[in-house]
Subunit: 512 residues, 2 copies
């Protein structure tokens, strides 16, 4: 057994059964081992940021890591932006990155690069195996790291000679460490605040947004009347009928500061205290009042559901509370607006859909307008690195095993990783993409306005995406995805409904 | 004057007049400054690897750096692969990368990343300005670093508050350091070898491949009868009628080792001693004989032309030697082969064309078949990071000021950065792209065969690019570039000739 074969046996022994891949020469022995040893489904992406984005989307839905197979240095570099998003979504991923043979890198061949330095910028765990004998053991530890709550990015760098050399040993099936429990002292202290203080905000993030955790949030809210919000961008929020209709902390600093102005006690559950996405002149970095008392109920890696249950019990809440659902909106008609699109989404989406939202500037009203949809999962671009939507939707569809994925995708961001459409076609995945085509970097035109001036020719040269307009129907068709254009909400709704009857992907270009 | 304005004034004062850009929020004050202060042409790319590849192509032709404007962390990460290629091409580039405000990064907002660590993996010079006052001075030094022979990558990281704060000071116009001269002792020693030794190979790279340097190589060869070759992948090789018909060191290890087997003396002129692109089991890393004596005439950063002139004079060569040109080939017909495509290229290309070769596996015979073309410049994927062709061709066309750029582009690699086609359309650049559509990662199938087996289903899942086939005519049209399909060399030649009559871009999908 060579090192490459020991890797594949170790992946299988540790229940990794999907590998998103764009290999190169230094990974060819791993490709051969994956070919010889059954048990892993390999899914190609035509650029590495598609590959890593798919792995992110997979973990958000499957709650267990996939592997990626990436080419040395520059290949990994191409996938870093979506690994950055995955890190901010707390997704577990096992990156397998080939590299120059241990004895060859001293000659600085053309593709030589500092692969480990690149990996460290996005990974919680990085190791380079130095012999075939250590590949299996290192892979076991990498997988364990990736599975550590709430999910981590682990990158295992494998020089080519560790793959082809005999002497590989299958790594052990290691147990997944359980999330740490919150101590009772913390529960009691937070309960005191909720009992005695005014203007308490419970801010939810990460695992606190799962349906099973929301049950206890509802109990706490019913008992104490505290406010509840979620972080701005969440890896996965379970929403719709039967789940809490939660608001997110706004993106715009003035709105966020206004929304949080009354907060006297901020209790964090898998969330961070809200700060600006960017700094702006004269605007404070912290968006909550300096005078607010911040308490931590559960860190991200802790068991938020257990902590919320214990808190609800400590507060003497009733064992269960019905979450009242509003009425599902009717599908609106007319020219697209953000509010109308959100209502339309709620009106048309099937049960148990997965919404991958990279709507950017057009998305401001999607979220609040879709509370009363059927139960669904909602994802955001957690790290702010654009180009997450199409790949993450693709990976989510792989994990979703037939669940419909709907991806409202801004055009400028979508162009970053449009290659994902080809993988959707190739794997016949149930993804409905709606390109929100405004033909500008609209959010940047908004940011430009904040700087103070009307954009001149040079600014528009950088921020306008017209001249020529993109034709997303042709782009999708060019990668084997059927597509159509819509200019009204009713056209869009009809095309979306039609797409839900298909097995595979479909794209709507909605001109907004 | 704020820091952003001081940056733009400093760029203009130091003769930087092109900026390839994909800015984000943290760069908005720079966009505003570029808008207010004339003198810099801003060209957008729809993904950062397009932006950095354009800057690489620009330098290869203009021989002076352009700037890039990139978004913090993940934006830079997206552009690293083509910066890796640019580094290996010895291209000078001034990267301007925005970042979180100095006082804001402590809060670890979603887009925060280790921008400097990312920059260091590809840059010869990295600095983060910490105040508006230092931006101008730092930019002057960055530009000087980028212009240092033979060209370097300089990355200046500018936290957002250094842009918007008043107190900016325009940096000085710094002189460009001249390339170091080779000392006379080295010239004399190399001359001795050429006079007295047998089986001498003069290996040329970097600046030694410019036409003005080749004049002296021809003199030396005529006098001494030494062999001459070039490195495998060159940033820019000036070729065609009136230039030396040079062979490259082959890619395949067995071919390279055979080609170099007789070498007893290896004289390097702006080149590195040949090693494997990758290591393979049982194949030596060095592709030249262990017994060969290696002598260095000129390091990359030294003045290769002056060194070759001095060497020719030392050897008593005649002042000039006519380089005999072969006959320009007729355009072949029939189904595409690599040899036929190379002949066709030589037959149809206009005078002074720029060839950006990312033909990968299909390109093996292009080069030798096109020696007898009209004078032209030829570029390779110097760092082996695929996806260099379309962006580099785009930047080369900006620098070429009307020269026709021809980009033979493998389909799998082309998909990495297809967004460059949109910039070609937007800027109406004279680029003729020929997509070599084999619908596979053919080079990897070759590498897979070296591993020993026929690819099974899992390997083909990762290496085959069919199911569905890409339609490059639709992809190009979707980005505003006219395009047509060809299946024979004569169809391809006719479409190419037609494209040369246009002002702007055209794409041919050649099914191979």
């Amino acid at each position: 057994m060579n090192g490459a074969e020991s890797l594949v046996h170790t992946l299988v022994a540790n229940s990794i059964d999907v590998c998103f891949a764009n290999p190169g020469t230094s990974e060819m022995h791993f490709v051969a081992a994956l070919d010889r040893i059954p048990g892993i489904r390999c899914i190609p992406g035509m650029q590495e940021n598609v590959v890593t984005g798919m792995a992110d989307g997979y973990h958000r839905i499957a709650r267990t890591p996939a592997a990626t197979l990436l080419h040395c240095g520059p290949g990994l570099a191409n996938g870093l932006a979506n690994l950055h998003n995955a890190r901010r979504a707390h997704s577990g991923i096992v990156n397998i990155v080939g590299d120059q043979a241990t004895y060859h890198s001293q000659y600085d061949p053309p593709l030589a690069a500092d692969t480990a330095a690149l990996a460290r910028t996005v990974s919680s765990w990085v190791r380079t195996s130095m012999s075939a004998q250590s590949v299996g053991r290192d892979a076991s530890v990498a997988i364990q790291a990736a599975k550590t709550s709430p999910g981590q990015i682990a990158t295992l760098i494998l020089p080519a000679d560790t793959a082809w050399t005999e002497g590989g040993i299958t790594g052990a099936a290691l147990s997944t460490p359980s999330p740490e429990h919150v101590d009772q002292h913390t529960i009691i202290e937070v309960a005191k605040t909720l009992r005695n203080a005014r203007n308490v905000l419970l801010l939810l993030g990460g695992p606190a947004l799962r349906a099973e955790a929301q049950v206890h949030v509802a109990r706490i809210q019913a008992k104490t009347g505290c406010r509840i919000m979620t972080e701005l961008f969440n890896g996965l929020h379970q929403r719709g009928r039967g789940r809490l209709p939660l608001s997110r902390v706004p993106f715009a600093p003035a709105s966020a500061i206004a929304a949080l102005a009354d907060v006297e006690h901020l209790i964090l559950v898998g969330a961070k205290a809200p700060v600006g996405f960017f700094a702006y002149p004269g605007v404070p970095s912290k968006h909550y009042p300096e005078t607010a008392q911040v308490q931590l109920l559960a860190r991200l890696e802790q068991d938020a559901e257990a902590a919320l249950r214990a808190l609800a019990d400590e507060l003497g809440c009733t064992p269960s509370v019905a979450i009242p659902g509003g009425e599902r909106p009717a599908a609106p008609t007319g020219l697209p607006t953000s509010l109308g699109f959100g209502q339309m989404l709620a009106a048309v989406m099937p049960e148990d859909a997965i919404i991958v939202d990279e709507g950017i500037s057009f998305a401001h009203a999607f979220y609040d307008a879709s509370h009363n949809a059927p139960p669904h999962d909602w994802m955001n671009v957690t790290g702010g690195a654009i180009g997450y939507g199409l790949p993450t939707a693709t990976g989510a569809a792989v994990a979703g095993k037939g669940r419909r994925v709907i991806c409202p995708q801004a055009d400028g961001s979508g162009m970053y990783t449009l290659q994902a459409l080809w993988t959707q076609a190739r794997e016949n995945l149930p993804v409905t993409t709606v390109i929100l085509a405004n033909r500008k970097y609209q959010i940047l035109l908004g940011e430009y306005a904040n700087v103070g001036a009307n954009p001149g020719q040079t600014a528009m040269d950088m921020l306008d995406l017209g001249r020529p307009d993109l034709d997303w129907v042709k782009l999708a068709n060019g990668m084997g995805v059927e597509a159509a254009k819509a200019t009204t909400l009713e056209e869009c709704a009809e095309l979306m409904r039609g797409s839900f009857k298909r097995d595979g992907p479909f794209l709507v270009e909605l001109v907004i």
